[in-house]
Symmetry: none
Subunit: 215 residues, 4 copies
């Protein structure tokens, strides 16, 4: 992904030949990066440390990625992909449950999200990336596009179905409606403004749907 960026002409520097890239090194770097972020935290995770732990030369990292955040982002995307493939038969894309009961479906998904946000394997790198994205707009947008947007699209689809089924008022901007479910949880998690739990997301769904329901 970053390799795509690097594959751009990159004036003056001839781009590396990605066909000869060592898959073993890539894996080792991902693993080292994620492990270090979990163990010592993002700020103390250094490129040198990743290289040493991965048994890789520093140049191998600089050749393929442009920054520590870039490494971590790819490592995390890879982690997310792999753990999805574990969890589901379908290779790449999540599916959003559709039992016909929009409230129940949203609660199910949000409960799963809460669990994920609390899983320490995910929490450390997610926070690190989120923090980086707050300050670095380019990386932030990339994160949103690659990590967040796919999920949001599934929500949107489900909400559209609910709207078609008359469970959500006509004419609503679903992008904004969606935020009533997502953003409060996001903010509590990002800014430590409150505890997150299944009860909390359930309440969120109830309150928000109340406002979205047809009159």
């Amino acid at each position: 992904m970053s390799a795509q960026r690097s594959a751009q002409p990159a004036p003056g520097k001839s781009a590396p030949d990605s066909t000869r890239r060592s898959e073993k090194s890539r894996r080792a770097i991902y693993d080292a990066a994620l492990a270090l972020v979990v163990e010592v935290g993002y700020p103390k995770t250094t490129i040198e440390g990743i290289a040493a732990r991965a048994g890789v030369g520093k140049q191998t990292i600089y050749r393929w990625w442009s920054s520590k955040a870039d490494v971590l982002m790819e490592a995390f995307l890879d982690l997310a992909e792999r753990s999805q493939q574990e969890a589901s038969a379908e290779p790449v894309s999540y599916t959003f449950p559709d039992t016909g009961d929009i409230a129940a479906d949203l609660k199910t998904v949000l409960r799963a999200t809460v669990d994920e946000l609390r899983d320490p394997r995910f929490e450390a790198p997610s926070r690190a990336l989120a923090a980086e994205g707050v300050v670095n707009e380019q990386l932030g947008r990339e994160l949103v596009a690659k990590l967040l947007q796919p999920s949001l699209d599934l929500y949107m689809d489900r909400l559209r179905a609910a709207q078609a089924a008359g469970q959500v008022r006509e004419g609503l901007d679903l992008r904004i409606a969606l935020e009533f479910f997502i953003s409060p949880l996001a903010q509590r998690w990002l800014q430590h403004t409150g505890p997150i739990s299944h009860e909390y997301t359930d309440t969120l769904v109830d309150y928000a749907l109340h406002g979205l329901a047809p009159r």
Copy 2:
């Protein structure tokens, strides 16, 4: 503020005597820190740089603050205080408008918030601190307590008044209700998930109040 922290026993290191602290240096450090964050960004803002720009020895920074984030947080709190005092007759505390129309009042305040989030003087340090808070829970909580909570309390008061006036349904958890106004804006700003504008926050208020209104 940091002085209060430093006033804790601080085992092994005798705490500095805050009565002899140089006010001039403190001011110069605040100004330098804020200016540098705006000019070169948070990661490239260094303690050495702040010291040099403030015309101050590094030790004077390390004596009174524990980290770059700590310096910036106090500098920002100080900035916030000063710009409030400029803006209002009342010395320290904001007031939340209460025209009797909860929708209008919320829109007013949120529009002001949008303006503030876009003011470059505020944006750079706020983002830096927010990012730091995402990753560093202790600092995150401190930020929330000192910067966010006072504002949230004013929202809560206003919502309670609206509830008393019958504009908001009885029995609602206002802390959660509040998040419908605050969190979507916060997330859009923090994560660059969407544009923020007066129109957006107006819509937010309309949608959210719809769900909170009495049946």
Copy 3:
């Protein structure tokens, strides 16, 4: 001594009033300086360390001395004076033995010198001062004048007496003759070019007197 230097007009800075000087502080500073040089070595002996150990403000040191070497020099002179007063009835000045046998007398004195050079109470500060004097000519000359010269004068007197008694050839430059006894020992001690012992100095005396004896 340094007070005498400081008592010079010192343009711009009014000289401190030495009549009001705290004797207790001076003593404490001497003791601290000597103890630290013995314990941690000269380079790691700092003015701050001396002040802290002496329970004295830094300014009290800077008021009366111009440098670490200056403090140590006075402290050492004081030590030398005190240990002389212990050792002899006569208050200040050494005496050089005169048994009529120049060889025996020189051997006696040089043996005592060897013992002193090996006394750890003296060795650390002496080396420190000597080293400083190698590099800092002004201090070096001061050291020679105050510490070395008085002893050398006694040697000269004794050699003159020996010359009068016909034990040393007429017409010799005694200042140079003297160096045959003193310098080899000095060099061995200063530069670690060889071991120093009573046997060594005895041999030195024998060899040297051989060259100085009348033909």
Copy 4:
């Protein structure tokens, strides 16, 4: 030389690979160190200053040397080697003149030594190293072994030849005899106890040989 020291196991820190060492940096560091010692004096010569002047990172100094004194010692040894190679056809070792007249030969060599001690290119670093050696026994012994001993050996050889030729008494300890020529000059130079000149060393030779001559 330091590389040899560094080649010791050096527990915990893997030793740097001296085959990849930058010769250019080494030269630049030597030059900078010597120049700074001459220009600003040893105490004001800092590692940072050397690095800056040599256009070298500080780490490059710390990688190969353990202290300022260590750098200077190697720089000085290198200087000494280079200026010997300039002066003589024979690559490394000095030669001591042997005209058959021991007095004349000693005077020649000592006059040359006096000239060297007064050459400002040599004086500043020599004094700095000598001073360091007074206080730091390990470094002192290293200095003696590497700088002084080779010269002393040549003296010894010459004295042995003189002894064989009947110009010096049998049975004398030549190591001690040697000191009559060397040490007085050394002390005058080190401790500023007297002026040094060709006349002085000539006298020294005359007086000392007098005592060493056969009866």
